[in-house]
């Protein structure tokens, strides 16, 4: 069953019957996932080059991985900071089957004498093209609003002045990690839906923070867990992988991720029965440009989805940055794969650590950092 269908089933039949009758619940999310990128092995030229600097359609990619491997980050921009065409847009162009211009320079060695190359590549011409993202599918996120006098352009979208609107970014009750709050079934090795293809969870996501405050039913109220994921870019679809632009912030990758959750027991059924009413997000004031922004209040996702929330007595219109329409599509496609026997549920080979917390970056002396 999809997560939506499962919640409906639990409402009419309860968790006991749900645990007996349902094997797997398919979750889904589609949102801006900035901590994404792709590594590509371009193949060797004649004569060969050890690439020291790489550009794909003008967007710099990371070199320094031997000779012809590069990593292009979703938020990478060219030297003009053209936000309408960042790394995410280059990745989307590749997935659309387009040719992308590759320029690279090297310093020349006895074994790699070539010093520059200017050519075109596509997913057809390269060896590997692999989406490998270090932090995706956040378990809950935040809501953003702006108390200040000017419109703010943020990674949480356009925030109008004087609490003119509020935005949020989670698929809520459909979101993978909110249906498995203590990571009982999702771990390293879990097979997932990634950008329209099959991929895997490869590690806990960066900034993994299982100790975030939770409601009595265990659902985190702040950004908590996240996933590091990997999948074959050559199998992905532009329907579930899209270059995005956040004005005056930069580019990001709109990505669909779905995770199947096996209903091991009634406890797991209770977890997957969670609804938007039970999931809370903190509303942060982005009018304060600090990493410790004040929390104005906590609201449920059902309030956020209603179109308006109350902030300091004002009715504030809300917007989602995460597409529920696409999240549902992800959960439906994943369900159809499982029913057709095309997608096998993979038990994690290792659980996520329980003891991670999020550290800050401070200006320190060498001694303080040691």
């Amino acid at each position: 069953m999809t997560a939506s269908e499962f919640k409906e089933f639990v409402r009419s039949h309860g968790t006991k019957k749900a645990a007996e009758e349902v094997d797997v619940v398919t979750t889904g999310t589609f949102g801006a996932m900035c901590s994404s990128g792709a590594y590509i092995n371009f193949g060797h030229s004649e004569p060969p080059i050890k690439m020291q600097k790489i550009w794909l359609d003008g967007v710099p990619a990371q070199a320094g991985l031997a000779a012809v491997d590069g990593y292009i980050g979703a938020t990478a921009l060219d030297e003009t900071n053209n936000m309408a065409h960042g790394g995410a847009h280059v990745i989307e162009a590749l997935v659309r089957g387009k040719a992308v211009r590759l320029r690279a320079t090297g310093y020349g060695t006895d074994c790699y004498p070539r010093k520059e190359i200017d050519t075109y590549i596509s997913l057809r011409t390269v060896n590997q093209a692999v989406l490998m993202n270090v932090r995706n599918s956040y378990q809950n996120y935040a809501a953003a609003t702006n108390s200040g006098p000017k419109t703010l352009y943020t990674y949480m979208g356009k925030l109008l002045p004087e609490f003119g609107n509020a935005t949020f970014s989670s698929a809520g009750e459909l979101s993978p990690l909110l249906n498995d709050p203590y990571y009982r079934t999702i771990g390293i090795g879990t097979r997932i839906f990634l950008g329209g293809a099959q991929g895997h969870v490869i590690w806990e996501g960066t900034q993994f923070n299982p100790g975030a405050p939770r409601t009595p039913n265990g659902v985190p109220k702040r950004p908590a867990g996240s996933l590091a994921v990997v999948g074959d870019l050559k199998q992905m679809s532009p329907e579930f992988l899209k270059g995005l632009t956040f004005t005056r912030y930069g580019s990001s990758l709109g990505l669909g991720i779905g995770v199947p959750i096996p209903i091991l027991d009634e406890e797991m059924a209770k977890c997957c029965a969670v609804t938007d009413r039970d999931i809370l997000a903190a509303v942060f004031d982005y009018g304060q440009p600090t990493r410790s922004r004040p929390v104005l209040k906590e609201v449920s996702y059902s309030e956020l989805r209603s179109g308006e929330i109350d902030i300091k007595g004002k009715r504030v219109p809300t917007s989602s940055l995460s597409s529920i329409f696409k999240a549902r599509q992800v959960s439906e496609v994943l369900k159809s794969w499982i029913l057709k026997g095309e997608f096998m549920i993979q038990e994690p080979v290792q659980s996520f650590p329980k003891d991670r917390s999020v550290k800050t970056l401070d200006v320190r002396t060498e001694r303080e950092a040691t």
Binding site: K242, G243, T245, T318, S319, S320
Partner: protein, 133 residues
């Protein structure tokens, strides 16, 4: 009847009292939804109310005065293939022309309500909204 039109002016046409003439000479009710002027001319979004033949007469007058007249539907366009239905545009649209349907999860664009203010253009992450005026 009511209709919404987008007017574009050259600097010369900007100097005529066209709103006054629409009201006084063509018996129309005029609601100015948006107006701006700069060194290359002006733009205005009007809602015209009145009898059908008066509206036609008013529009003919505008065209004869050198004012560009286009229906509001040609003000802002959505690329339905690019839209991911995230809903970012919903909370910033001042006229609620963009709304999200909770059942289908889809964002719909009601062109009749749009006043071509353009607030949605740079807010749309997949850049699905385009302003044509």
């Amino acid at each position: 009847m009511k209709t919404k039109v987008v007017l574009t002016f050259s600097p010369e046409a900007s100097n005529q009292p066209i709103t006054h003439n629409l009201i006084a000479k063509h018996s129309l009710m005029v609601n100015i939804l948006r107006a701006e002027i700069d060194e290359v001319g002006g733009k205005m979004v009007l809602e015209l109310s009145g009898k059908a033949d008066h509206i036609k007469g008013g529009i003919d007058y505008l065209k004869a005065s050198g004012v560009g007249v286009r229906p509001i539907k040609e003000g802002v366009r959505r690329d339905d293939d690019a839209c991911t239905h995230c809903g970012m545009c919903v909370s910033i649209c001042p006229t609620k022309a963009l709304t999200i349907d909770l059942k289908s999860g889809k964002v719909s664009f009601n062109e009749e309500k749009c006043v071509a203010c353009g607030v949605c253009i740079d807010a749309c992450p997949p850049r699905a909204m385009e302003i044509l005026i």
